[in-house]
């Protein structure tokens, strides 16, 4: 029987929804027990949130000043110590998990599986490769622990209402001082986070300037959407990098995704494949985005988007 440790992602105050999605993945594995590890400086609030997640048996916490903010090189040896006795250690395939989990795996002397999109067996998983152009089935050896990241867009968060036990742990490992947090610069935005937004409006190169993105923001704010972008728009400097959706940006699964002036390169499409409904607005009727869109409209975005905003307002 499996014993699974899910590594919680949080900002010190709030549990990131990626954790509930990792737990959802864990429930697909023939699991004797799903525990969640919360590492932070003062984990009380976040641990309480993790304890509410359905299917979780225990929340294990490590409180240490050095754990806030999270730095992979500092967290990894503690997680390795915690992971003793577990058959699986899972983290989200967000920037946090992608940075952390390979370091954990290497310290444990195992290879890591990236981006689990489906569980085929306790040691058998599917994951996307080549920007999602192919899906590979991977088998991990059963005589070693599985360390993996979970493609969060493939899973619905588990519900709440649970009251798992919370246990404080201490591990005897030396924490490195060679890596020091300086600051986190976040674009001051009240818009929904891309990973959790039910609706996302994305703009591409066709917006042609930073100023023109204003019409994207207006539409997004009208329907309470997060704002995304294509790589081309980020490279051109129209929008900040954290808005990028796709193979090398964020992989998201909103209920509604509106792609505006985005041609639909495979690298972008791989980031939105799990969206509920994809709407595409593009002046080029041959644009590949229309091949995957549920609803398409060909025309001039500078005329369509303000009209759409007006109509939905």
């Amino acid at each position: 029987m499996a014993k699974i440790l899910v590594i919680a992602e949080h900002n010190g105050e709030t549990l990131n929804p990626s954790t509930a999605k990792c737990v959802a993945c864990a429930t697909q594995i023939d699991a004797a027990e799903i525990d969640v590890a919360v590492l932070g400086a003062d984990t009380g609030t976040v641990a309480a949130q993790a304890a509410e997640l359905s299917s979780v048996v225990r929340v294990v916490t490590i409180d240490d000043e050095g754990n806030d903010p999270a730095i992979a090189a500092i967290l990894a040896p503690q997680i390795v110590a915690l992971a003793d006795g577990y058959s699986h250690v899972l983290g989200p395939s967000t920037a946090f998990g992608k940075d952390l989990m390979p370091r954990v795996a290497a310290l444990m002397g195992v290879n890591q599986i990236s981006d689990i999109m489906s569980v085929e067996g306790s040691h058998q998983f599917k994951r996307p490769i080549y920007a999602g152009n192919a899906i590979v089935t991977v088998e991990a050896p059963t005589d070693h622990p599985v360390v993996a990241t979970v493609r969060t867009a493939s899973y619905q968060a588990v519900g709440g209402g649970n009251a798992a036990a919370i246990e404080s742990a201490s591990v005897d490992v030396e924490l490195p001082s060679h890596t020091r947090f300086v600051e986190l610069q976040t674009g001051a935005s009240d818009r929904p986070d891309l990973q959790t937004a039910a609706r996302v409006v994305s703009g591409g190169r066709a917006l042609a300037s930073e100023e023109n993105f204003e019409i994207i923001y207006k539409l997004a704010d009208t329907i309470g959407a997060g704002v995304g972008s294509s790589r081309a728009a980020v490279d051109a400097g129209y929008v900040p990098p954290e808005t990028q959706v796709g193979q090398t940006g964020q992989i998201i699964a909103p209920d509604l995704y509106i792609a505006i002036g985005i041609s639909g390169a495979i690298q972008h499409v791989t980031g939105i494949k799990d969206a509920g409904t994809i709407v595409a607005i593009n002046k080029d009727e041959e644009a590949p985005i229309f091949e995957i869109a549920d609803i398409g409209l060909v025309g001039d975005l500078f005329a369509i988007v303000p009209e759409l905003t007006e109509a939905l307002g």
């Binding site: 903010p69 992979a72 090189a73 920037a95 946090f96 940075d99 390979p102 370091r103 954990v104 795996a105 290497a106 002397g109 195992v110 290879n111 890591q112 599986i113 990236s114 058998q124 490769i129 080549y130 920007a131 999602g132 152009n133 192919a134 590979v136 089935t137 991977v138 088998e139 050896p141 490195p176 060679h178 890596t179 020091r180 947090f181 300086v182 986190l184 674009g187 990973q195 609706r199 790589r231 980020v234 990098p241 954290e242 193979q247 090398t248 964020q250 209920d255 509604l256 495979i266 607005i281 229309f290 995957i292 549920d294 609803i295 409209l297 025309g299 369509i304 759409l308 109509a311 939905l312």
Partner: protein
């Protein structure tokens, strides 16, 4: 700083739309254009700029894989790397083995900085740098969009989901690079000629005494599930109706 190691992975070119073989045994790579993994080109460009600013004396490019990877190493030499090392293996080894190979080379070369792409666009794993840093017991600064060296330290700006995170790290260290770090230079014809004379050392992976990691076995390949063909609407009114019909706004 003395030396920077840069990894160059031979990967299917960015513009190739990869197809799964009909028997599900892999993806079609026969006759497909191969290139340096684009993130690795950015890694090399950054190393070259560091050397050109006088902050490092030598840039060594490393590839681990089949003998054809020499082509990518030659391109790296033409871009401006000083030397190349091919660690030859049949196919591409597991990532933990690759990290262990890099660690061997770091020790042999007394390298103080290893710069790698944040992921390869074939397997999309995003693991090698983190694993190397773990084995080496040194800092990792992944997904870098800015690198500023300051003596035996570096200040690295990282692209994370919520914005930009800035870390200070002590060298030696591993940095993995994101798209916006720089724009790699174009290779000029005279540089290609010059690159032919630069040293390219080949080491058989077996000679490094690296223990392979517990193997992950890829048992089947399939094309992704497609999305159903949608509808086209004629105007905004039609679009609004279709969106409202699905109860999405």
């Amino acid at each position: 700083m003395n030396k920077i190691l840069v990894g160059l992975k031979r990967a299917v070119d960015y513009n190739v739309r990869v197809q799964v073989k009909s028997d599900g045994s892999g993806v079609e790579t026969d006759g497909v254009k191969m290139s340096i993994n684009p993130f690795d080109e950015i890694a090399l460009e950054e190393a070259l700029r560091i050397r050109e600013r006088g902050e490092a004396s030598e840039v060594v490019v490393v590839s681990i894989g089949p003998s054809e990877s020499q082509q990518q190493l030659r391109t790296g030499l033409a871009m401006g790397a000083d030397r190349a090392i091919l660690v030859e293996s049949e196919g591409v080894p597991d990532i933990l083995s690759i990290a262990r190979v890099f660690k061997e080379l770091v020790d042999r070369e007394s390298a103080e900085l290893v710069i790698l792409g944040k992921q390869a666009i074939d397997d999309d794993n995003s693991q090698t740098g983190q694993m190397l840093a773990a084995i080496w017991g040194r800092p990792q600064a992944t997904f870098a969009s800015e690198v500023v060296l300051d003596g035996d330290k570096a200040r690295v700006t990282r692209e994370v989901d919520s914005g930009l995170e800035i870390l200070d790290i002590d060298l030696p260290a591993v940095i993995t690079v994101d798209l916006r770090l720089n724009e790699p230079r174009y290779v000029k014809l005279p540089d290609i000629m010059k690159a032919k004379k630069k040293p390219l050392e080949t080491i058989a992976i077996g000679d490094l005494g690296v223990e392979p990691g517990p193997q992950l076995v890829e048992t089947a390949f399939e094309p992704p599930a497609g999305r159903q063909k949608g509808i086209m609407v004629d105007d905004v009114a039609g679009l609004v109706a279709a969106i409202k019909d699905k109860g999405l706004v």
